[in-house]
Protein backbone atom coordinates (compact mmCIF):
# COMPACT_ATOMS: atom_id res chain seq x y z
CA UNK A 1 0.00 0.00 0.00
CA UNK A 2 1.15 3.52 -0.71
CA UNK A 3 1.17 5.50 2.51
CA UNK A 4 2.70 8.70 3.84
CA UNK A 5 6.32 7.92 4.67
CA UNK A 6 7.53 8.11 8.25
CA UNK A 7 11.19 8.30 7.28
CA UNK A 8 10.93 10.55 4.24
CA UNK A 9 9.39 13.63 5.79
CA UNK A 10 10.15 16.73 7.82
CA UNK A 11 10.09 15.50 11.45
CA UNK A 12 7.85 18.33 12.65
CA UNK A 13 4.87 17.13 10.55
CA UNK A 14 2.21 15.11 12.36
CA UNK A 15 1.19 11.90 10.63
CA UNK A 16 -2.03 10.06 11.49
CA UNK A 17 -1.91 6.50 12.82
CA UNK A 18 -3.23 5.13 9.54
CA UNK A 19 -0.54 7.15 7.70
CA UNK A 20 -3.07 8.54 5.28
CA UNK A 21 -3.31 12.05 6.75
CA UNK A 22 -0.76 14.66 7.69
CA UNK A 23 -0.99 17.97 9.55
CA UNK A 24 1.55 20.78 9.44
CA UNK A 25 2.02 23.99 11.35
CA UNK A 26 4.13 27.14 11.06
CA UNK A 27 6.33 27.21 7.92
CA UNK A 28 6.06 24.91 4.91
CA UNK A 29 7.71 21.49 5.02
CA UNK A 30 7.25 18.33 3.02
CA UNK A 31 6.31 14.68 3.38
CA UNK A 32 6.55 12.11 0.61
CA UNK A 33 4.87 8.77 0.14
CA UNK A 34 6.39 5.36 0.75
CA UNK A 35 6.52 4.52 -2.93
CA UNK A 36 7.55 6.46 -5.99
CA UNK A 37 7.02 5.93 -9.71
CA UNK A 38 9.59 5.77 -12.45
CA UNK A 39 7.72 5.48 -15.75
CA UNK A 40 4.18 5.07 -17.01
CA UNK A 41 0.96 6.85 -16.10
CA UNK A 42 0.03 7.33 -12.47
CA UNK A 43 -2.65 9.21 -10.61
CA UNK A 44 -3.48 9.97 -6.99
CA UNK A 45 -6.07 12.04 -5.16
CA UNK A 46 -5.93 13.97 -1.91
CA UNK A 47 -8.73 15.51 0.10
CA UNK A 48 -8.29 18.66 2.16
CA UNK A 49 -9.94 17.75 5.46
CA UNK A 50 -9.17 21.00 7.27
CA UNK A 51 -7.65 24.36 6.42
CA UNK A 52 -7.80 27.02 9.14
CA UNK A 53 -7.78 30.68 8.06
CA UNK A 54 -4.36 31.97 6.96
CA UNK A 55 -3.07 28.42 6.38
CA UNK A 56 -2.15 26.95 3.00
CA UNK A 57 -0.98 23.72 1.39
CA UNK A 58 1.11 22.82 -1.66
CA UNK A 59 0.76 19.30 -3.03
CA UNK A 60 2.25 17.64 -6.06
CA UNK A 61 5.09 15.40 -7.21
CA UNK A 62 8.62 15.26 -5.86
CA UNK A 63 11.80 13.37 -6.56
CA UNK A 64 13.68 11.90 -3.61
CA UNK A 65 16.15 14.81 -3.59
CA UNK A 66 13.46 17.45 -3.03
CA UNK A 67 14.20 19.50 0.11
CA UNK A 68 11.90 18.40 2.95
CA UNK A 69 12.40 21.63 4.93
CA UNK A 70 10.75 23.70 2.20
CA UNK A 71 7.42 23.63 0.35
CA UNK A 72 6.83 21.18 -2.49
CA UNK A 73 7.80 23.08 -5.66
CA UNK A 74 10.72 24.85 -4.00
CA UNK A 75 13.56 23.39 -6.06
CA UNK A 76 14.09 21.62 -9.36
CA UNK A 77 13.09 18.31 -7.81
CA UNK A 78 9.44 19.05 -7.12
CA UNK A 79 6.26 20.47 -8.62
CA UNK A 80 3.22 21.66 -6.68
CA UNK A 81 -0.25 23.17 -6.70
CA UNK A 82 -1.02 25.71 -4.01
CA UNK A 83 -4.37 26.09 -2.23
CA UNK A 84 -4.03 29.88 -2.10
CA UNK A 85 -4.82 31.38 -5.52
CA UNK A 86 -4.42 27.93 -7.12
CA UNK A 87 -0.85 28.70 -8.18
CA UNK A 88 1.47 26.05 -9.56
CA UNK A 89 5.09 26.10 -8.40
CA UNK A 90 8.38 24.73 -9.62
CA UNK A 91 11.82 26.04 -8.60
CA UNK A 92 9.98 28.60 -6.46
CA UNK A 93 8.43 30.29 -9.47
CA UNK A 94 4.67 30.57 -9.17
CA UNK A 95 2.43 30.64 -12.21
CA UNK A 96 -1.31 30.96 -12.48
CA UNK A 97 -3.08 27.63 -12.85
CA UNK A 98 -6.55 27.57 -11.33
CA UNK A 99 -8.83 29.12 -8.78
CA UNK A 100 -7.97 28.48 -5.17
CA UNK A 101 -9.00 25.32 -3.36
CA UNK A 102 -9.69 24.56 0.30
CA UNK A 103 -11.41 22.46 2.92
CA UNK A 104 -13.56 19.71 1.44
CA UNK A 105 -11.97 19.81 -2.01
CA UNK A 106 -10.58 16.64 -3.62
CA UNK A 107 -7.51 17.19 -5.78
CA UNK A 108 -6.19 14.89 -8.49
CA UNK A 109 -2.56 14.53 -9.56
CA UNK A 110 -1.62 12.79 -12.79
CA UNK A 111 1.86 12.13 -14.10
CA UNK A 112 2.98 10.55 -17.36
CA UNK A 113 6.63 9.55 -17.44
CA UNK A 114 8.32 8.16 -20.57
CA UNK A 115 10.11 4.78 -20.42
CA UNK A 116 13.76 5.01 -19.25
CA UNK A 117 16.19 5.91 -22.06
Amino acid sequence: HVLLALHDRAPQLKVSDDRLSVTGEKGYSMIRSTHGVQCGRWYFEARITDMPPESAVRIGWSQSLGNLQAPCGYDKFSYSWRSRKGTRFHQSHGKHYSEDFGKGDVLGFYIHLPPPG
Binding site: G27, N67, Q69, A70, Y74
Partner: protein, 155 residues
Amino acid sequence: DLPMAMRFRKLQEHAKEAVGVYRSHIHGRGLFCKRNIDSGEMVIEYAGEVIRSSLTDKREKYYESKGIGCYMFRIDDFEVVDATMHGSAARFINHSCEPNCYSRVINVDGKKHIVIFAMRPISKGEELTYDYKFPIEEVKIPCSCGSKKCRKYLN
Protein backbone atom coordinates in the same frame (compact mmCIF):
# COMPACT_ATOMS: atom_id res chain seq x y z
CA ASP B 1 29.81 26.48 39.25
CA LEU B 2 26.14 27.07 38.64
CA PRO B 3 24.25 24.91 36.09
CA MET B 4 24.42 26.17 32.51
CA ALA B 5 20.74 27.13 32.38
CA MET B 6 21.03 29.26 35.50
CA ARG B 7 24.17 30.96 34.23
CA PHE B 8 22.36 31.67 30.96
CA ARG B 9 19.41 33.29 32.71
CA LYS B 10 21.76 35.66 34.53
CA LEU B 11 23.62 36.44 31.31
CA GLN B 12 21.04 38.88 29.94
CA GLU B 13 21.41 41.12 33.01
CA HIS B 14 25.20 41.06 33.00
CA ALA B 15 26.22 41.00 29.34
CA LYS B 16 25.72 44.73 28.77
CA GLU B 17 27.85 45.72 31.77
CA ALA B 18 30.61 43.28 30.76
CA VAL B 19 31.02 44.06 27.04
CA GLY B 20 30.39 46.85 24.57
CA VAL B 21 30.92 47.76 20.91
CA TYR B 22 33.82 50.09 20.09
CA ARG B 23 36.15 50.90 17.21
CA SER B 24 38.45 47.98 16.29
CA HIS B 25 41.67 47.79 14.28
CA ILE B 26 40.71 44.29 13.11
CA HIS B 27 37.55 45.22 11.27
CA GLY B 28 36.10 48.66 11.96
CA ARG B 29 33.94 47.75 14.95
CA GLY B 30 34.44 45.02 17.55
CA LEU B 31 33.25 43.81 20.93
CA PHE B 32 35.37 44.93 23.87
CA CYS B 33 35.64 44.01 27.51
CA LYS B 34 34.29 46.67 29.94
CA ARG B 35 35.39 44.83 33.08
CA ASN B 36 37.75 41.91 33.75
CA ILE B 37 36.27 38.59 32.64
CA ASP B 38 37.24 35.24 34.17
CA SER B 39 38.30 32.21 32.20
CA GLY B 40 35.27 30.06 31.36
CA GLU B 41 32.84 32.87 32.07
CA MET B 42 29.72 33.13 29.93
CA VAL B 43 30.11 36.44 28.10
CA ILE B 44 27.19 37.07 25.73
CA GLU B 45 24.63 35.25 23.66
CA TYR B 46 24.95 35.39 19.90
CA ALA B 47 21.30 36.33 19.63
CA GLY B 48 19.30 37.03 16.51
CA GLU B 49 16.41 35.68 14.46
CA VAL B 50 16.19 31.91 14.65
CA ILE B 51 15.46 30.67 11.13
CA ARG B 52 15.33 27.28 9.45
CA SER B 53 18.51 26.34 7.59
CA SER B 54 16.57 26.06 4.33
CA LEU B 55 16.02 29.83 4.42
CA THR B 56 19.70 30.80 4.56
CA ASP B 57 20.42 30.62 0.80
CA LYS B 58 17.66 33.05 -0.12
CA ARG B 59 18.58 35.41 2.72
CA GLU B 60 22.27 35.39 1.79
CA LYS B 61 21.43 36.27 -1.82
CA TYR B 62 19.14 39.08 -0.65
CA TYR B 63 21.76 40.59 1.67
CA GLU B 64 24.39 40.33 -1.06
CA SER B 65 22.12 42.09 -3.53
CA LYS B 66 21.71 44.97 -1.05
CA GLY B 67 25.40 45.13 -0.17
CA ILE B 68 24.60 44.14 3.45
CA GLY B 69 27.22 42.12 5.33
CA CYS B 70 25.72 38.79 6.37
CA TYR B 71 25.92 37.67 10.04
CA MET B 72 24.71 34.10 10.43
CA PHE B 73 25.66 31.45 12.93
CA ARG B 74 24.61 27.80 12.55
CA ILE B 75 22.97 26.22 15.61
CA ASP B 76 22.62 22.74 14.14
CA ASP B 77 21.51 21.00 10.91
CA PHE B 78 18.04 22.53 11.17
CA GLU B 79 18.41 26.03 12.59
CA VAL B 80 20.54 29.11 12.13
CA VAL B 81 20.74 32.39 14.03
CA ASP B 82 20.58 35.31 11.61
CA ALA B 83 21.86 38.44 13.37
CA THR B 84 22.12 40.54 10.20
CA MET B 85 19.08 42.76 10.77
CA HIS B 86 18.11 41.76 14.33
CA GLY B 87 20.82 40.77 16.75
CA SER B 88 22.82 41.27 19.90
CA ALA B 89 26.21 42.98 20.16
CA ALA B 90 27.83 39.55 19.69
CA ARG B 91 27.50 40.02 15.94
CA PHE B 92 30.37 42.49 16.19
CA ILE B 93 32.85 39.96 17.60
CA ASN B 94 35.71 39.78 15.14
CA HIS B 95 37.70 36.77 14.05
CA SER B 96 41.21 36.18 15.33
CA CYS B 97 43.59 33.33 14.64
CA GLU B 98 44.56 33.66 18.34
CA PRO B 99 41.13 34.08 19.93
CA ASN B 100 40.25 34.67 23.57
CA CYS B 101 36.70 33.34 23.29
CA TYR B 102 34.91 30.29 21.94
CA SER B 103 31.29 29.51 21.12
CA ARG B 104 29.05 26.69 22.27
CA VAL B 105 25.44 25.72 21.63
CA ILE B 106 23.59 25.22 24.93
CA ASN B 107 20.10 23.91 25.57
CA VAL B 108 17.88 25.88 27.95
CA ASP B 109 14.23 24.86 28.48
CA GLY B 110 14.23 22.92 25.23
CA LYS B 111 15.57 25.80 23.14
CA LYS B 112 19.09 26.06 21.77
CA HIS B 113 21.23 29.15 22.21
CA ILE B 114 24.67 30.10 20.90
CA VAL B 115 26.77 31.44 23.74
CA ILE B 116 30.22 32.98 23.74
CA PHE B 117 32.57 31.91 26.55
CA ALA B 118 35.93 33.27 27.63
CA MET B 119 38.83 30.96 26.83
CA ARG B 120 41.12 32.65 29.34
CA PRO B 121 41.00 35.65 31.69
CA ILE B 122 40.26 38.74 29.59
CA SER B 123 41.26 42.18 30.85
CA LYS B 124 39.18 45.36 30.70
CA GLY B 125 39.81 47.07 27.36
CA GLU B 126 40.76 43.92 25.44
CA GLU B 127 38.88 43.09 22.26
CA LEU B 128 36.94 39.82 22.37
CA THR B 129 37.59 37.53 19.43
CA TYR B 130 36.86 33.97 18.45
CA ASP B 131 37.92 31.60 15.70
CA TYR B 132 35.25 31.74 12.96
CA LYS B 133 34.63 28.41 11.24
CA PHE B 134 34.60 29.55 7.63
CA PRO B 135 34.15 26.78 5.03
CA ILE B 136 37.35 26.08 3.10
CA GLU B 137 36.90 27.48 -0.40
CA GLU B 138 39.10 28.35 -3.34
CA VAL B 139 38.47 32.08 -3.19
CA LYS B 140 40.47 33.11 -0.13
CA ILE B 141 39.37 35.85 2.25
CA PRO B 142 42.35 37.70 3.77
CA CYS B 143 42.53 37.81 7.58
CA SER B 144 43.19 41.13 9.31
CA CYS B 145 43.40 39.86 12.89
CA GLY B 146 47.04 40.95 13.19
CA SER B 147 47.94 38.16 15.62
CA LYS B 148 51.39 36.55 15.69
CA LYS B 149 49.98 33.19 14.58
CA CYS B 150 47.75 34.68 11.89
CA ARG B 151 46.90 32.08 9.24
CA LYS B 152 46.63 34.86 6.64
CA TYR B 153 43.22 33.70 5.40
CA LEU B 154 39.85 33.34 7.11
CA ASN B 155 39.02 30.24 5.04
